[in-house]
Symmetry: D3
Subunit: 245 residues, 6 copies
């Protein structure tokens, strides 16, 4: 769409979501020359840091610090262009006017070719589903010519919803499988940065392997299906516009 | 997927469906070098030929003949590679074993890069929705290594559902808009071959114009949206497999 | 729509369905001057006659005979214009070409202002859901100018889905509540004709009373809601066309 | 329902929505003697005034002023009884307690026979979908006997959802088509008041023409369908209560 | 799950909801030895006390007082362990941070084996549907190790949605029927405590009787179905985890 | 329900489906003392035996024979009480009157406590989804007192839908997770009997491991979740009837 460097923006509710759910897409597009920005609305400091809180004498600042370091290491492993930790609190997230203003500014600055966020419904984790609603709202504001007039307004980037933890319970249905085999080592390295959630390392490795099976099946199966060892799935919110099917 | 000429297969319940609903996609892909095959399961001789039947002394053969000629003219205008009229009766269609065998053979012969058919639900026209179920069944059989062993089995072509007459009532949701501006003249010419349904000429012209507005909106809107004068919309049944989002 | 007598057609899978599910609508429209035809595809002789089959020495003919008599008595109580028992077998129904031909003929003869049938989905009773698909198919054929050319073709009557036994399991959602208070006595009388299913008499009486509560709530509730003692609910398949909202 | 003049209330997120989406319904009901009130929550000053903002030296006040004038002209063309511009900001709308209090007051004052608002889901424009939730919330509060005790409480008006820009993406399904042919000239005149969005004039004209085709099809099609040149479609939230189907 | 007394928590938007919708489940589990806590977010003082407000000289305090007394009497009749009236206002409820903090504290204190709340969608009463979203949010926060560190965090209790007033309009689908015959007298006694809503006493009695019919049908019907005179239905949000199907 | 031995019936479209999709449930219930019957409608000889067909000189009989042997070995490994190969052809299955009669007889003979079959929708494999419709139809017929009067009629067994290959594309949502850790070795042994589909061995092992994660999460997660190494998920068609939640 643009004649300059391609970009992407990931809006992640908690610090680790971008790793499990779209780490492959990040690393792959980084390798394709995209500048990928990751906006973490929180560190997941309250809700996704059980292991840390089980330690004696833990404090909020120490948890945030540990989670930030993990996120930074993972981002580096994936080749993230810009990791932005908004630190808006979690469980629940603060998705009020101030956060919105920050994310709208990021959207306009990044001008992403595509955006990513969570599933539309998540009864286990309302932070996730409200983040997606929030992402749509920010996209709308960033498109408004009368919001901070004079700034470059946002176009119409796709919003991909990345894979939640229990896909069927969240009503999430992937319509796009991305082959991440070439960058799998980077994703696994990023996953291993998440010291506090080691119980999920193999879970998401198996997810990637099984999505690869789906990739192969949908690209031709037993008759011409392309081999693939690791893949990620995404659900698109908006229709595509194409010149060839 | 193949190193040879690309192909597509349209499965049309009645003779005119392929014109209104995907005439642009046909003409565009023909112009891109695809061999596009259209399989019309019937002529729409009973259910979609009211104008002819209102004439004095009309017979089934004369209706079929007239409809065949219209379909042939339209196919020629669109650049269809092969128009196959299966003549299986309409209202209701005969979608039994014999028809299935014919369509499976066509699928294997054509080896389409993509298939097209009707919406999943159509309370106005059960021929349409049963055709889509039937298309899925034929696709499955054509993929079976044990069906007519020795033949080249089918891969995993996408099945696009083209636009029905009342989209919301049919639960049809397009996820892909195709710019057909370059071939609009051909689609309009094909539309005008449908002498018996002149009341739909302008209807489907307006559909194409409004889909062009959707194309523009989804490709960037007021900020970078690509101009487009005529478009068609499609709903995909299967996920895409990609190397870049 | 027509300048002649208004008509309606109920397509009932088994002999008793028209009583429980739309007996009030039948009696009310009969009282409004409609000719209401009821087509029972079967007597429910296998699947809905447990009480009879528990009797010593019962035969299929005796069951059918008993069920026919019940249906005739109920029809009379409701003011049915024409009760047609097609006797196509049940559990499962025979919904093949011959039955279709019969029902299409009835549709063309009756030219109903509206039709009624079962819910779209019924995991307890596939006869019910296939009857609705079949009703849509027959409606389509009856509209075809080339089906038995020369006959008066069918217009576009609404198809109302009447209330199934477990509404939520069947995915049935009423969009229309009909006040049947003026004819309740007739519906109750018809219900009591169903000697074999006495356990349902009070069940469907309570349904009518609770639907009346819904009627009142939707017509204004505590502020202007109209009093209503008995009601029936219906789900429409097709949009309405109106000159005032 | 009432023995006095009939009324209707349109709740429009932005100034132009009531024109594109239900201008015909407004003009028609005005011509039938209804007092139609339009409550515009905002002028669409930020998000739907791109053309104005592209002008040199534009200010928020000038945009609002221009949009207000357009809305007033359109309202006059349609015969709106009362146009209320709440000026609550857009992209995003302020739908907090103060706005709610204002709209509840309007609901109680107008006592509408029916209400209108946006689709339930709109990923392109969260203002739209939140307005519909908000309309439901205001309706509930206006029905509460303990809210400002002593005021006349609201009954149970239907809430019609008018047509969004991309119906299928918004999951909007019309169940009612209204013939607006008699007032089309007024709607077109109102449309032409929207100087800032000229690219939509023909789009919504085509929508009205194609909805007329649907009107004709659903009122009888080739056999008794009523002619109609322009129509609008609506989705009902609540069931109807009737004395005849 | 726990080696101590089993517990349950009902989150009721208004004072009477817990009686109509799950009074049987409360009484039954109380009789099974559960400590059942009921948290009423409001008294329903504005929206569900029409009868009181129609009295001369009524005040908010008197309405709340009357409703509190009714709720207390009903709770006593049902064997509620702890009735907590949060008094957060109704129509609309205040579901902000303070209410959330209160409910999270209750969740952690009660450590319920299961929770109950309203349907996911309710166009008639947005208080109901927002309460369910709120219940999910509170459940999530109560599970967070970093929320008030040191407290015992919540496990993963099921959230059952109890029966709304118009099930089909709310998209509520029961997956569990509970036989409440042994405690019906207690539920009816509690119902009769609701002096202000006498019009609903028989309505909800009939609901219980008809749900008993569904219980019987689903436990075996005419062949082995268990007799049941009164039942309640519930929809589960989360999957069950079992050792035998 | 019964005072005799508990039973279960699996209806499997093709020979291997019962292994991948519910082998754990079979082995577990066998170990709990259930007699589990497996009815394979076909051997999957045409559609799921690609590896065999790629061998030189393969014939239909040899494929069937090989598939039968695999199925028998797997059934033995799982402790299946009775493996019934109906040999009705595949791609597509013959689900006509003769097959129905056979399966109804089996249902009445087995009198299962629960049944299992495929997902409701499967665009990749229409055999699967038609088998589920067929299972519901057979269940209905087996419940009919007038079908082969004198036989013991069927009660109301639950129908569990086992896990399809691409859950989200099939619209399958598990509501029940079963811990199969105690019998995992048996399931893996059965899986390894499927010599022709070795590419799926690890796929379904990973599925079981990830479902175990879901089991743990839903039984309490980080706070009381029960450890589980292998699990299977199921979707229930019918509501449960219980005496305690």
């Amino acid at each position: 769409m643009s004649d300059t460097k391609k970009t992407a923006l990931i809006i992640s509710a908690h610090a680790a979501d971008f790793v499990w759910r779209c780490g492959g897409a990040i690393a792959l597009h980084a390798s394709l020359g995209y500048n990928v920005t990751v906006a973490c609305l929180s560190f997941g400091e309250r809700g996704e840091s059980a292991k840390l809180w089980k330690q004696e004498g833990m404090t909020m600042d120490r948890v945030k610090d540990a989670r930030r370091k993990e996120a930074e290491s993972a981002a580096e492993a994936l080749g993230v262009h810009d990791l932005i930790c908004l630190d808006r609190g979690d469980y629940p997230l603060d998705l009020g006017p101030e956060t919105r203003s920050q994310v709208v500014d990021i959207l306009r600055k990044v001008q992403p070719s595509f955006m990513m966020s969570h599933s539309k419904w998540d009864p286990y984790n309302t932070d996730h589903m409200y983040t997606t609603q929030f992402a749509l709202e920010c996209r709308m504001v960033a498109q408004a010519w009368g919001h901070n007039p004079g700034e470059k307004v946002l176009g119409a980037p796709q919003l991909y919803l990345f894979e939640p933890h229990q896909t069927e319970q969240m009503g999430w249905k992937p319509d796009t499988f991305l082959d991440i085999t070439p960058v799998w080592d980077k994703k696994r390295a990023a996953i291993e940065c998440m010291q506090g959630q080691e119980h999920l390392w193999d879970f998401y490795t198996r997810v990637a392997q099984n999505r690869a099976n789906h990739f192969k099946r949908n690209s031709g199966g037993q008759s011409g299906g392309r081999d693939c060892k690791y893949a990620e799935g995404f659900e698109s919110i908006f229709p595509r516009t194409v010149d060839e099917l």
